[in-house]
């Protein structure tokens, strides 16, 4: 079992390194075409160095605090993955949670924890929609979660033109956010590993048929997994808004390439492990913050997201590659 854990950790590390190497190669290639003199130095000074060190600029507490929303979102995605449920609607849940928190904060003037509770509730309710579609209409959850995510993002974008959104009050919530992410990760890990519903979920993750033979109510388990996943996604959005990270809400391009991608990348890096998801989210946020400090005149800010996408591809390649159904007798 320990070997399995080490193998999984090693695989994640390899994905991260491979993604970074590929990203660096893309940056060098892009710079080669556009830069003249001192190409190597420019790539290092304006691109790679800020990418790898930029995350520390605000200090470790800010890094961990800013990574908390991504960690909560990746926890939601990981929880669903434990049951073999492909949750790809993180972006929509995040946007919905952020909008709910914004409404509560700006219109009702509720305290931050009440805003967070409302955003989690909104995410949970929205997350139950693909759950219901799966149970009642047997719609595949990958499609259901993607569709509801798009719907949420588009509706919120339309609404954003009609409502005057307010910026969040500058509150120092890094420590509470970090504590929330840590406690949630621990609770989810304990729940999945040591409780009857957790084992139900893991058996469902093996295959639906196995779960049915084992007497698991597959529909109910999948529904609650998607609800909980939605709840965490919504809470992640709320937390992001309250930390002042989601300023331009709801922006379609940001929603898709920002938190949605970060959550997926962290969950993929962690291989669906709840505790690993928090560590992976910190790594992803570190890179993302670093990418933001790159010289915009030389490298586009999207370069960081491209590197994250490459890491995600590497994780997917490992998950589906040899030994996982590829070359198998």
């Amino acid at each position: 079992m320990k070997n399995k854990g080490f193998r999984s950790f090693g695989r994640s590390l390899l994905c991260l390194c491979l993604g970074l190497l590929l990203g660096a190669a893309v940056m060098i290639a892009a710079a080669w075409l556009t830069l003249g003199e001192n190409r190597w130095e420019t790539v290092w000074r304006e691109g790679l160095l800020p990418l790898f060190t930029g995350g520390w600029r605000e200090g470790p507490l800010a890094l961990l605090g800013r990574a908390a929303p991504d960690a909560v979102l990746s926890l939601g995605i990981s929880l669903a993955w434990q049951g073999g449920i492909v949750q790809v609607g993180g972006a929509g849940l995040h946007a919905l949670g952020a909008a709910a928190a914004m409404l509560c904060a700006s219109l009702a003037g509720l305290p931050w924890y009440a805003c967070l509770a409302v955003s989690a509730l909104a995410g949970g309710l929205w997350g139950s929609v693909p759950g219901l579609l799966k149970v009642k209409l047997r719609l595949r959850e990958a499609l259901g979660t993607a569709l509801t995510a798009w719907l949420a993002i588009y509706v919120l974008q339309a609404a954003s033109t009609m409502i005057a959104w307010e910026q969040p009050a500058e509150t120092d919530l890094f420590i509470p956010a970090l504590a929330i992410a840590g406690v949630l990760a621990l609770l989810i890990w304990l729940g999945v590993k040591f409780t009857v519903p957790g084992l139900d979920l893991r058996v469902l993750g093996v295959s639906e048929k196995t779960a049915r033979y084992a007497g698991v109510d597959t529909g109910k388990t999948a529904f609650w997994a998607l609800c909980l996943s939605g709840l965490l996604g919504g809470a992640a959005g709320g937390l992001d808004y309250l930390l002042g990270g989601a300023n331009q809400l709801p922006d379609l391009s940001l929603a898709l390439t920002g938190p949605g991608l970060h959550g997926l990348a962290a969950a993929a890096l962690a291989g669906g492990h709840p505790l690993g998801a928090v560590a992976a989210a910190v790594a992803v946020k570190y890179l993302s913050l670093g990418a933001g400090t790159m010289n915009g005149a030389v490298f586009s800010p999207e370069m960081g997201e491209a590197i994250l996408a490459l890491i995600l591809y590497c994780c997917a390649a490992f998950a589906l590659g040899p030994g996982k159904g590829g070359r198998k007798a």
Partner: protein, 467 residues
């Protein structure tokens, strides 16, 4: 230049045999081997895996294909019971996908029919491959290999898809192919199938066809009664399983055994018909209620059995049927210590050393023990010895016979006619969801059973009186 088309050396044989296999060009040769060895050789020949143990030589040249494409380029076609046909495409569509066969459907079919006539095969060209019987798919793949002009045909475990009689007919066609220069290697775990070739090498000990010993006890009352089960591919299926007997239901893959097991476990509801356990109707019982009422079931694959799984530990797998019982959970929290103790006890009882529980035979033994460790009245098992060697299969049969001797009712759903005859006290045959015959294994041959399993004969004087 050597006149051997294919040579395999250093084969990891079990017990006897030199681990050497040589097939001449134009020869129809068989190798008698355990299922795991058949699977290993076919996987290496087709380029799916490479253990590095066996050494392959093709026409005197080293042969180590890196992919099925490479194997096909070298003229080696491997046909396995799992098959490689796309379920939604018909055989005609598959023919049109072959290199150099880009033509209209009509022309493709004409070519295929000419080939069929030459070798004495028959096939349904228009139905999707997924709707064909396992035997038709197997024959279809052989035809595709012949159309591809593959020089060497490796047929792996045809007995898993075809009956002995169908194999006999197939071997006549294969012999014709050999006369035209093709080389055929039959990898099988059956002496009957191996004997159909011109010669065979025994890479594993020859299987013993004497039925396992059992107590001579009188058959008791009806425990599990199925009446007119219809739907999910079944048509009016009725049977009774009694205490102290093993009722074997033999049917080829796709005959409805899986649906029957699912109905018995409660994961599938029949459109019509009723199911009774000790006289009590259990149609509306959930899976858990059925387990509590005394119906034990063992699905056909390790994955379906849930043992052992990637995300579930061995102790959790062992307690998979009963982790909701108070002994293994308290207020929703798993009692991992109890689960571990139970798993340890079972492994000790089965004399399985730590780390060995993942071998194919131990997985089956553990799964069977898990299902039958408790107070149950009827047990339904699907293909319990599929892919196992002779010794492991006999171990499973002996376990089933012990349960029968303890006066439990056992329903053995199997694709293997030999297994039905050796382990069963009474045999029913299933073809396309219908019971086609009932037999006494003591006076029935495998070939005869095959006639009913393939639907060539139905009812007849051999039919048992169910009531």
């Amino acid at each position: 230049m050597t006149d051997y088309a294919l040579e395999i050396e250093h084969i990891p044989t079990v017990g006897n045999g030199e681990g050497l296999l040589k097939v001449r060009t134009g020869e129809f040769r068989a190798a008698l081997a355990e299922p795991s060895l058949c699977a290993l050789l076919s996987a290496e020949l087709v380029g799916f895996s490479c253990t590095g143990e066996a050494e392959y030589t093709l026409h005197g040249q080293p042969y180590f294909p890196r992919s099925p494409r490479a194997a096909l380029k070298k003229g080696v076609a491997v046909v396995t019971p799992e098959g490689a046909l796309a379920g939604d495409l018909s055989l005609t569509d598959h023919i049109r996908l072959l290199p150099g066969m880009l033509c209209g459907k009509k022309k493709a079919r004409e070519k295929a029919e000419a080939l069929c006539a030459a070798y004495g095969f028959s096939a349904d060209w228009t139905a999707p491959a997924g709707a064909l019987s396992a035997g038709d798919r197997y024959r279809g793949e052989i035809l595709l290999a012949l159309l591809r002009n593959s020089e060497i045909l490796v047929l792996c475990q045809p007995e898993a898809a075809l009956t002995l009689l169908e194999l006999e007919q197939l071997s006549a066609g294969l012999r014709k192919a050999c006369q035209q220069g093709k080389t055929v290697l039959l990898l099988t775990c059956r002496t009957g199938a191996a004997a159909l070739a011109d010669a065979y090498d025994a890479l594993s000990p020859e299987p013993d066809d004497t039925p396992p010993g059992r107590l001579d006890i009188a058959v008791g009352s009806v425990v599990l009664e199925a009446r007119n089960l219809t739907g999910n591919g079944l048509k009016d299926v009725s049977f009774e399983a009694r205490t102290g007997e093993i009722l074997a239901i033999a049917g080829l893959p796709g005959s409805g055994k899986q649906a029957l097991l699912d109905i018995l476990t409660g994961t599938l509801t029949p459109k019509e018909g009723r199911l009774r356990l000790n006289g009590r109707e259990i149609n509306d019982y959930s899976v858990r209620e059925r387990v509590r009422a005394g119906v034990a079931c063992m699905p056909g694959t390790d994955r379906d059995c849930g043992f052992p799984l990637e995300s579930v530990s061995v102790r959790e797998s062992m307690a998979l049927r009963r982790y909701r019982e108070p002994a293994y959970q308290e207020s929703g929290f798993l009692r991992k210590g109890e689960m571990g103790r139970y798993a340890g006890d079972v492994l000790t009882w089965l004399n399985i050393q730590p780390g060995e529980e993942t071998s194919a035979e131990n997985r089956r033994r553990c799964a069977l023990t898990r299902e039958t460790d408790g107070n149950f009245h009827a047990l339904a098992v699907l293909d319990p010895t599929k892919g196992l060697g002779e010794a492991a299969a006999r171990d499973i049969w002996n376990r089933l016979i012990t349960l029968r001797d303890e006066r439990r009712a056992v329903v053995l759903l199997t694709s293997d006619a030999r297994e039905a005859l050796l382990a069963g006290d009474r045999v029913l045959t299933l073809y396309r969801g219908e019971i086609t015959g009932a037999f006494d294994p003591a006076v029935t041959t495998e070939k005869e059973l095959g006639l009913y399993m393939t639907g060539r004969r139905q009812g007849g004087e051999e039919r048992f009186d169910e009531e």
